[in-house]
Amino acid sequence: MNFNTDKPIYLQIADVISDRILSGELKGGDRIPSVREYGADIGVNPNTMMRSYEKLTADGIIFNKRGIGYFVADDARDTVLAAQRKEFLEKDVPAILQRMRLLGLDSTIFEGE
């Protein structure tokens, strides 16, 4: 789910890769395409792709084996899960609550789920 499509493109790409890790499509140790390959696949400037990879590397989600390429970290799924739960609670939940107040809804809407 994407609540904020106004994020910088490089963060949106990082989110897509994170979601693929969450869903299990990408697993720890999997190789991911090079910056230029991935950029060509989605029609994005290599500089933008590089920033996505740098962000994911800094967050410990992927890592670079020099001269070989980028790989998904073994504990990537846990890292993504923790980060996304935090983001959900801090950003998405307040937005949902604000919207619910605006629409006159309360938590009883979740009870039937």
Partner: protein
């Protein structure tokens, strides 16, 4: 490395470029933007050596393009806005003209041509404008040049080809190549151009990476109006506002809104981007 220093050019008494200084480094796809008539095409033709600077200088890896040394000519490609409907089949044209670029790759030409859905045995002078443009794009990329100067490359392309073009410029150019793409079709190329160069009447207003732009300006897509907005544009989903980035939070750069902001506040922007 392209180094333009105090470049000046005029057509007779009509001055087009004046005191232009600009550096373009390897491995980047520059977007050259500017209103009609500010000299984008003139700048590209000066860069590839078709015209001689009247003032100042241009060097490409230390060489003056107007000297037209074979070593530089075989490492650059100028893709004009209006391309020639050559009196030959696409494949024969490629075979005959590819020899001028030592790194030309005929297989690559066929691959790109088929990705762009143009038949290689078609005569170029019998093609539609879009097919002809695609043939030239395929030929250009197959030349494996280091420097590409492209003037409105997406003009005349159909919708699927625009996406193919975006992919092809990354897929089929090498990591150390430099592309300078002039365009009015900002939406076609928004995700592929970075840095952005904005040329105005006789000056460069901005030469900045997307990262730098999003660091200095905030693009707000919300509906709450901000008093310090430099630029405001109504959109179907609310509006786009552009204002100085004071929080450090990053936003998605909208190149059209950026261009309009720059034009409305030239001095503010020039000071902001240290030009």
């Amino acid at each position: 490395m392209i180094d333009i220093s105090n470049l000046g050019f005029s057509y007779g008494p009509k001055s087009v470029l004046k005191n232009i200084s600009l550096k373009a480094s390897e491995g980047n796809i520059y977007g050259l933007l500017g209103e009609n008539g500010v000299g984008k095409t003139t700048l590209l033709t000066l860069l590839c050596g078709l015209k001689k600077p009247l003032e100042g200088s241009i060097t490409v890896d230390g060489r003056n393009p107007f000297n037209r040394e074979p070593s530089l000519l075989s490492d650059q490609f100028y893709l004009a806005d209006e391309v020639t409907p050559v009196h030959a089949k696409a494949m024969s044209f490629a075979k005959e003209h590819g020899v001028f670029w030592p790194k030309f790759d005929l297989d690559k030409f066929f691959t790109i041509l088929s990705e762009l859905e143009v038949a290689a045995d078609q005569r170029m002078d019998a093609m539609s404008a879009g097919q002809l443009k695609k043939t030239w794009i395929a030929f250009a990329l197959a030349c494996n040049a280091k420097y590409y100067y492209m003037d409105e490359p997406t003009n005349g392309l159909d919708i699927p080809s625009k996406a193919q073009f975006r992919k092809a410029v990354t897929k089929y150019t090498s990591e150390d190549s430099t592309l300078i793409i002039s365009t009015h079709q900002v939406r076609d190329l928004e995700n592929i151009i970075d840095p952005i160069i904005i040329l105005d009447n006789q000056e460069v207003l901005v030469n900045a990476t997307m990262e730098e732009i999003s660091r200095k300006l905030f693009f707000d897509y919300g509906s709450e109006l901000k008093a310090d907005a430099l630029y405001l544009e109504q959109t179907p989903g609310g509006c786009i506002q552009v204002y100085p980035n004071v929080t450090g939070e990053e936003s998605k750069v909208n190149v059209e809104a950026f261009f309009n902001t720059v034009h409305a506040h030239k001095d503010v922007i020039k000071a902001m981007f240290n030009l």
